[in-house]
Subunit: 412 residues, 2 copies
């Protein structure tokens, strides 16, 4: 894609109303635009990242047997009076012209349970895992940290339905592995820890996936031995020991952001909607449920936060808007740049070509650092003389002159 | 995909609260589920159709230079007081915990104009076309006809920005061709006519794309000579003649549903937000705008309405959830069915395999007709004896016995 054709432009100055690094870089780089506090548009570059993150999640959840659906954002209030959640403070309320009270979905237990109830009859219909990637609304009192805590955000929410606790436990463990794989693929695996947190009313603990970053709003304590952590909110309940290996927790608090969570729901919502199944002996039994969220837009913010330096973002290859950023530094370099782009296109490698003629080399370099595409290829009168291209990884300092063929070999 | 694994089941009886064929078949077939009037969930089969329609639209709009973005659904009321549209009756209103009034987007002029204003400075930044495929909300007094008139629906909305009227006119004509191609590819080209309709306050006519179907809520009159129509609402203004070729309009009214529309917006919204650009002489001029909508979920309903018979839907190949539906009619037929599925998979042909063991042949046949996958392949003890498979197009009456190779040749 030609950079001159993308309608967004990079901004030199950081927006004054944003303090988090992710928001500053994502806005300055033209990935997102702020409409109001906690409400953002995703611009061409940002939408490309978002779709790549979505696809990683979709592939892994499909592989774990999840069936994708798409549920509405507006819900009748009756479903919330049924579950007793009509007074949650983060619900946005509105009503139809005929006076029917409705709320905006901040989660979808109230929709998915009556929906699957139409299709679950016997034990043969279980287990079942259904998910969506869909926009959620939360009437946050204080939206903050860019796309970390929004009033409107994209979420993957998966719901699982089981005949008994054992089957639920198996799936609950499976999804922990799936989540690990998703965060690994998205490039934040090593910064993300499985964290014990408050379980709410229906189980002792829930599990969160917390990405360690100073921009985070949570505080966690790592286990000194195993690979889990404990959220500050349940540290006392745990008596400062790891609930898994029973060793002491570190005394050093870490700031982190919750990118995913998994909740055992037991029969909390099945009971409310009378969701039951007939077991092999013909007895009606309540369905056991779990729910599993990943904040898709928040994940994008977490990646930008973890993978960045003082110049801008450093996208992991798996979610980068383009894989290669070609910077021709003179008019003579543009035809050569287009030839290199063609060679990359033949290998299906997505390229952004900075063909802007009104920008200096310095401006092109600093925009490339801000946007953060993993590979930068500079083509100048000098590289043409040397019959090569100058290749630099965004994450490294050194550039190398090499032939186009040598560069292509990197992507075998 | 194995049909036994899809969690939805076909329903024998039509829902009592739905009168339109599209809603009845889409609900009975397990494509959609109704949460409340005008609000539907898209289930695994329905979501597959929806994504195929989305992709046709995306490909054609990208080819016409559209840049895809994703804007929020909740908007600050101030943007509507700026354009004077804060009192539109179909706006859903709500507010933040801090008392900030917000509305749910029923269209996005109030968001896109301030957004592009940040990036449009000079004539060099024009023309520009930006679009999204995103959920819209309209507080309809009477949602009806299934997914035709919803309170929540998926829409493709494209906005174009031009330096002058001539450039706008060129793009306006381009998009008419693009829309024709989209509706052709989606299988409703021959049932869909370009229709002159009310232009609102800022131009004499707008153009609608109306699909002729008895379930439609609009009334149009076809030109007796050329390929356009006139909406009932402007028939008198047109003096019963075609605005394009000036020949008389047919006297016979046709029921139809509006699947797309294109509006000349002129400077209606540019003026409101003071969106201007610097021309080559350094003079500030207002930007000329157009907007172009396609109701994505409504299009799905229109296809189901147009392509159906008394037994169910007949999906066009371009949007079908699967291309081939394999029906093994005995236990012995299942391994053979899986072999055929594998041959099709090697050619990347998506297959639904009805492996349900508790269904009779008759039930499988009637479900296949209801779901409406274009090609039906029956494998029975009889076809195995004949060393072939029984192939029938959903749109035809006659089935043929042929070899798997002969069948595969259909997809070359």
């Amino acid at each position: 894609m030609l950079q001159s054709k993308i309608f967004t432009k990079t901004l030199r100055d950081s927006p004054k109303d944003e303090t988090s690094k992710n928001a500053q870089y994502l806005i300055r780089g033209g990935f997102v635009d702020k409409l109001m506090a906690g409400v953002y548009s995703y611009l061409p570059l940002g939408l490309r990242v978002l779709k790549r993150i979505e696809n990683i999640i979709r592939e892994e959840i499909n592989a774990a047997g999840g069936q994708e659906i798409f549920m509405p954002a507006i819900h009748p209030i009756e479903n919330y009076t049924t579950t007793g959640r009509e007074a949650i403070d983060v619900l946005f309320h509105t009503e139809t012209q005929t006076g029917h009270r409705i709320v905006l979905g901040q989660s979808h237990e109230e929709v998915i349970v009556p929906l699957v109830k139409k299709f679950i009859e016997s034990y043969r219909d279980l287990p079942l895992a259904v998910y969506q990637i869909q926009t959620k609304f939360r009437n946050e009192l204080r939206p903050k940290s860019g796309i970390f805590r929004g009033r409107e955000f994209l979420m993957k929410d998966l719901y699982s339905f089981h005949a008994d606790e054992d089957d639920f436990d198996r799936y609950y463990k499976t999804i922990q592995q799936v989540y690990k794989k998703i965060f690994d693929r998205a490039g934040i695996g090593s910064a993300t820890v499985r964290t014990f947190a408050s379980g709410g009313t229906f189980s002792k603990y829930s599990l969160e996936f917390q990405t360690i970053t100073d921009a985070g709003e949570d505080t966690i304590f790592l286990c000194e031995r195993c690979s889990v952590a404990v959220n500050d909110e349940v540290k006392d309940d745990c008596k400062n020991t790891c609930p898994e290996c029973k060793k002491p927790l570190s005394h050093e608090p870490k700031k982190s952001i919750e990118v995913g969570n998994i909740f055992p729901l037991k029969t909390r919502f099945s009971d409310a909607f009378n969701l039951s199944y007939k077991d092999p002996d013909g007895k009606q039994k309540p369905v056991i449920m779990g729910c599993y969220g990943i904040g898709v837009t928040r994940l994008m913010g977490a990646i930008a936060e973890v993978h960045s330096d003082e110049h801008g973002i450093i996208w992991p290859e798996s979610v980068a808007p383009f894989l290669v950023h070609i910077l021709p530094l003179s008019k003579a370099a543009i035809p050569e740049a287009k030839r290199v782009e063609l060679s990359l296109a033949e290998k299906s490698i997505p390229v952004l070509l900075d063909d802007r003629e009104d920008k200096s080399a310095g401006e092109k370099f600093s925009d490339a650092d801000l946007i953060g595409i993993p590979w930068r290829v500079v083509i100048s009168d000098n590289t043409i003389k040397k019959e090569g291209i100058e290749v630099k990884k965004r994450s490294e300092r050194e550039a190398k002159i090499m032939s186009v063929e040598e560069f292509l070999d990197q992507f075998l």
